[in-house]
């Protein structure tokens, strides 16, 4: 089972990760020669992304419904 397939089976393949496959292909020699390092890099990014999101996002404190009247 490939890394892509395994992640999909495990439910960890997000839409954003699928979009990033184009970058995986463009990695060329790194992906061909060091696939385990690439997988570790992806997991590193996922961990960082989860922490960043847990810290909050711009607009997260705004009310769900627009107040109206503004631009």
């Amino acid at each position: 089972m490939s890394f892509f397939e395994r992640r999909a089976v495990e439910g960890g393949m997000t839409e954003e990760m699928m979009e990033r496959q184009i970058n995986w292909a463009s990695l060329g020699e790194v992906w061909n020669r060091y696939p385990a390092e690439v997988e570790a890099a992806i997991e590193n990014v996922e961990a960082s992304r989860a922490i960043l999101l847990s810290l909050g996002q711009p607009g997260a404190c705004l009310p769900d419904e627009p107040a109206g009247g503004g631009q």
């Binding site: 954003e16 970058n23 060329g28 020699e29 790194v30 390092e37 890099a41 990014v45 992304r49 960043l52």
Partner: protein, 450 residues
């Protein structure tokens, strides 16, 4: 009285050069002998410029003989991390990818040191491209810790920290993107000063992550660091070092090393001793809370990986085998970070910077851990990977505030323990003042048994 000239401070050397007890030529000869004896076990240098240094020492000696030294750095040997250009030498960045990149001119900081009469002694070991870790798959071996050569000297300015601590030269110029000028001072002793962002020019410095990169100063003592900072900036901080800590308000950020990233017992105890000592000198020490250390570390990591991959991505795609495995591991995540990730990290960076700025409404300087543990064995990749993250230096790369790391004591294993202090931006004067106060309480700079 026998003087160990290799431990002499910059003012002590300048005085000896003036009154004839030593000369720049004699001092250089002494240091070259010491380097010849100890360098095979320390690997601080990538390139040693004995001939160029000898010529500069002769010129300096002539100025002293004529009673016309150029200033406090005239005749003082200083070495340069090999990511910084020194004319006529390759800026290899400790990498097989750049062995032939000979610098046509000096970096701005190097040119300023030469203009002040300093002797540029050579180029120093670093982690490849100032990232990764101590690697054994590069063209040059990694530097080792002078307190125990089986241990990591800290990095990425590893040759700078090892060489300063070993008494090879009075000072070194390093860089600091996630703590790389402060980590060697934490692991090998001495002082690592990261001034305010862009306070020292990055002209002629190979970038790692430009919005986080700082040029840093490594010395054995605080006064020497202040002298270099003054020469490089035109300021006069060295004149204020004797003021002590009395009247300063110090905010101790305990949650960094007690909750967020627990330090070992010896490091925690050493930080407590520092706080007690500064309070005994008349400082007001209070506990201070900042955002969690993980927030700073994550923002630093995402920005560093994004910016670093922008620089190294082409080489990584076409010839990845030319990098150390540790460098690939450190840089590759940048290939998968999105613009959204970087924007979110940048947004958090603003919030974190505001939080640190706000803390200075109540205190003059922050006191934190630097490394949470003493150095680990250099040939233990798992320990290197584990301990590299256990540090509190990234907050001040994210925010751009000045910060200084120095020895806080010695572990029972005979390795340096460390502290960090950080003041308001552009207030290096207070930073150096509080560091000098602790250094005096410690009995002055401490040296390894070499």
């Amino acid at each position: 009285v026998t003087i160990d000239w290799h431990w002499a401070s910059i003012p002590e050397l300048a005085a000896a050069f003036r009154d004839g007890r030593s000369s720049p030529t004699a001092h250089l000869s002494h240091l070259l002998g010491r380097i010849d004896a100890l360098e095979p076990s320390l690997h601080a240098f990538v390139a040693l410029d004995s001939d160029g240094a000898a010529g500069a020492a002769d010129a300096s000696a002539a100025r002293f003989a004529a009673g016309q030294p150029l200033g406090p750095l005239d005749g003082i040997p200083i070495a340069i991390k090999d990511v910084i250009d020194v004319a006529g030498f390759p800026t290899t960045c400790h990498s097989a990818l750049r062995l032939d990149h000979v610098a046509a001119r000096d970096a701005d900081v190097v040119a300023r040191l030469r203009a002040a009469g300093a002797i540029i002694l050579g180029k120093l070991s670093t982690h490849e491209f100032a990232i990764g870790g101590p690697a054994f798959d590069l063209p040059f071996p990694p530097a080792r810790n002078p307190w125990n050569t089986a241990y990591h000297p800290g990095g990425s300015s590893s040759g700078a920290g090892a060489g300063v601590a070993a008494g090879f030269f009075s000072a070194a110029i390093g860089t600091d993107t996630a703590g790389s000028a402060r980590n060697p001072a934490s692991a090998s002793g001495g002082v690592g000063l990261k001034p305010t962002y862009e306070r020292l020019s990055r002209d002629g410095v190979f970038p790692l992550a430009p919005t986080l990169d700082h040029v840093g100063i490594l010395t054995r003592g605080v006064e020497d660091a202040a002298i270099l900072f003054d020469v490089l900036t035109g300021d006069t901080h060295a004149a204020d070092l004797g003021s002590g800590a009395s009247g300063l308000r110090i905010g101790m950020v305990r949650h960094f090393h007690e909750e967020d990233m627990p330090a070992d017992a010896e490091t925690a105890a050493a930080l407590d001793r520092v706080a007690v000592s500064l309070a005994a000198q008349g400082a007001e020490v209070i506990d201070m809370r900042l955002p969690p250390l993980e927030a700073f570390a994550t923002v630093n990591r995402v920005l560093l990986q994004s910016e670093g991959y922008a620089i190294h991505g082409a080489d990584m795609r076409t010839r990845p085998e030319r990098f150390s495995a540790l460098t690939r591991k450190a840089l590759l995540p940048g290939a998968f970070l999105s613009a959204k990730d970087m924007i979110l990290a940048t947004w958090h960076r603003g919030r974190l910077t505001e939080a640190v700025d706000a803390a200075f409404a109540d205190v003059d300087v922050l006191l934190t851990a630097s490394s949470m543990e003493p150095a680990c064995a250099i040939d233990d990749p798992a320990e290197i990977a584990r301990t590299y993250m256990l540090q509190a230096r990234t907050p001040f790369n994210v925010t751009g505030h000045p910060a200084l790391a120095m020895m806080a004591g010695l572990s029972t294993g005979g390795l340096p323990l460390s502290l960090q202090s950080a003041p308001r931006r552009d207030d290096e004067r207070t930073l150096l003042r509080v560091a000098a106060a602790w250094e005096a309480a410690m009995g002055g700079p401490q040296h390894p048994p070499l």
